[in-house]
Amino acid sequence: MSELPVLERELPADRPADPKSTAVAGQWRLIWLRFKRHRLALWSGAIVLLIYFVAVFSDFIAPTTAGYYNADYTYAPPQRIRLWGEDAEGQRHLLFVYGYEASVDPIALTRTYEINEDEVIGIGFFVRGEPYRFWGLFPTDIHLIGPTEVGQPFYLFGADRLGRDVFSRTVHGTRVSMSIGLIGVAISLALGILLGGVSGLAGGWLDEVIQRVIEFLKSIPTIPLWMGLAAAIPLNIHPLIVYFWITVILSLIGWTDIARIVRGRFLALKTEDFVTAARLDGCGQQRIIWRHMVPSFMSHLIASTTLAIPAMILAETALSFLGIGLRPPVVSWGVLLKEAQSILAVANAPWLFLPGLAVIVAVLALNFLGDGLRDASDPYGN
């Protein structure tokens, strides 16, 4: 901690308190000030925003579509982007990659690739490539980055067994993998607030029943439960419905933690002075709940929710990897890692692990962000 904590900085005695000072700052401003001190969390927040940005614009950012394949480049190794090159027609390129020289083993029928330094493939921004529908609505063929000439090989993360671009597929997978956590957490949050709130506020037999249900759900080992439920999803239904069911299954356990937090907070707040004061002021029950109690633990809840997202991303990855989660043609990080399941394939094409890197970055960033948010969520403590 090189920076002096804001709260401890003393104001010079001869100067009047600055209206922006922390003495009069609101709760959210204090949270932001404290959050800013956690550098790692701040950077992680930026990375998380970037990942979600990629998720929203994935069709455009990926060099090609998720399904595009080229059998000439099966298991082609990753290419390195290089600076300043001149292609055969004498045209200069700022960014370029070298082409491949493929040779086929006549016995094993496997392809081996050499870098062909004579073949320069120019890389450009906003280039024309495979046609697609942006957000499924607007037909276009402009991609953020790609080879300047349509159809040239461009494999930043290498190619898979069908000659599909692993980088493009990882970018496309961002949308499903990141949103499954978000939607799963949203369902958990809704259920958790509702049932935890009822449990904490109503008390009595309702509280008892909800608590027992939570204990019950928590005592079932998660992965076998998920496996059982996921295996029950029929094979022949639309991938989108599978996606929906997976999120529901993942949030089935997730809501219990949130419900416990909400219940605990409601129980603790019920007897707080400010709640009594609000009641004496004649506030209605609804107003007390939503204007006085909920805001006082909302920040804490947001932090817990952020920490719940990475667990869901990992769970989706594990289920899809086992073949009982999402299935092709849906592209998610778990589905991509399923390609890396056989050790033989991976020994020859270790770049198939690269989507795993996306998982690690996303999970780490979300964890650090959640950590920082949790530390900041109670800005009044020491």
């Binding site: 901690m1 005592s219 079932i220 080992p221 076998p224 990855t317």
Partner: protein, 328 residues
């Protein structure tokens, strides 16, 4: 104390029954039954069974009866006769199959637990006492990596690295000559030789979590006045540290036993499939795919009971360790 334990065990009975019902419903959820799965599988190999055999099989397994009757038969068989039913796919009693695998599952889980504690305990203490030192940063960094890397990915990477650089295959728990051998000293050594890979893979996540918990708790404790008092009385730093704050900070260690067992068992399922370990995971997955319902149901039921026992043990240990905790 005794009444508390008794009450807890009594409470486990209805929960276990509820779990058994849920487990049964879950394994019945997929459309069709084992017979449809079997015919589909045979059709893939261009084989067919005549309808009469199918009907006879259905009749034998009781698939025509309503679900509640099937459940009743299953659960009473378990409770009164210890009979978990017959595995359709293996044509063997489920109990045999499960005991085979459950033993190894427990060995792997227990070894992992020991690994996690032995590693997390000193690192957690070090991280707290030397907060913001290089060692602390390194421990925190690896801790987070351990949390973020999916188990199966770590397993694959380890397999890849060892096959590439050590020239050894790391799948399974035994070498070829010991797979079907009886227990002997050689087999134990062979097991230990293979055990480290799944233990590392399974242990990383738990170690990371425990280091962070230990560090956070110890940091809270170290600021308390009793530490200052002990120091003022002239206790040596080590003795002071181990005698008071570490003992208090140990609480969460024990209470994690409750959730670390189920997470280990859960995590072991996926990892075991990647590493082709002869534990419960791969068998459960296959049983789910083949709709071998008594086998799958038996597994889910037993894993759940393990979880319940883990929670109970951790609660008891906690009460024993910390006299401030009352039995309610």
């Amino acid at each position: 104390m005794l009444t508390y334990i008794l009450r807890r065990i009594l409470f486990m009975v209805p929960v276990t029954l509820a779990i058994s019902l849920v487990a049964f419903i879950i394994i019945q959820l997929p459309p069709g039954d084992f017979i449809t799965a079997l015919t589909a599988q045979m059709a893939e190999n261009n084989e067919t069974l005549d309808p009469e055999t199918l009907a006879a099989l259905r009749d034998r397994y009781g698939f025509d009866q309503p679900m509640i009757v099937q459940y009743w038969k299953w659960i009473t068989g378990i409770v009164f006769r210890g009979d978990f039913g017959q595995s359709f796919e293996w044509s063997r009693p489920v109990a045999d199959l499960i005991w085979d695998r459950l033993g190894l599952t427990l060995i792997v889980s227990f070894a992992t637990l020991v690994f996690v504690w032995v590693l997390a305990f000193p690192i957690g203490i070090y991280s707290a006492v030397r907060q913001y030192s290089w060692g602390d940063y390194i421990a925190t960094f690896f801790g987070f990596i351990g949390l973020a890397v999916p188990n199966f990915l770590l397993a694959l990477v380890l397999m890849y690295l060892s096959s590439r650089y050590l020239g050894a295959s790391v799948g399974g728990l035994f070498s070829a000559e010991y797979v079907n051998a009886d227990w002997s000293w050689g087999r134990v050594v062979d097991l230990l030789n293979h055990l480290w890979v799944p233990v590392i893979v399974l242990g990383t996540g738990g170690t990371a979590a425990l280091i962070r918990i230990m560090r956070a708790n110890l940091l809270d404790e170290l600021k308390k006045p009793y530490v200052e008092l002990a120091r003022a009385r002239g206790l040596s730093e080590t003795r002071l540290l181990l005698k008071y704050p570490v003992r208090v900070a140990l609480n969460p260690f024990i209470s994690t036993l409750g959730w670390i067992l189920p997470t280990l068992v859960s995590g072991a399922v996926v990892t075991a499939i990647v590493l082709s370990l002869p534990t419960s995971g791969p068998l459960l997955l296959n049983a789910l795919f083949a709709q071998d319902m008594y086998l799958a149901g038996g597994f889910i039921l037993l894993l759940s009971i393990l979880t319940l026992i883990g929670t109970l043990v951790s609660d008891l240990l906690l009460a024993w360790l910390d006299p401030r905790i009352r039995y309610e």
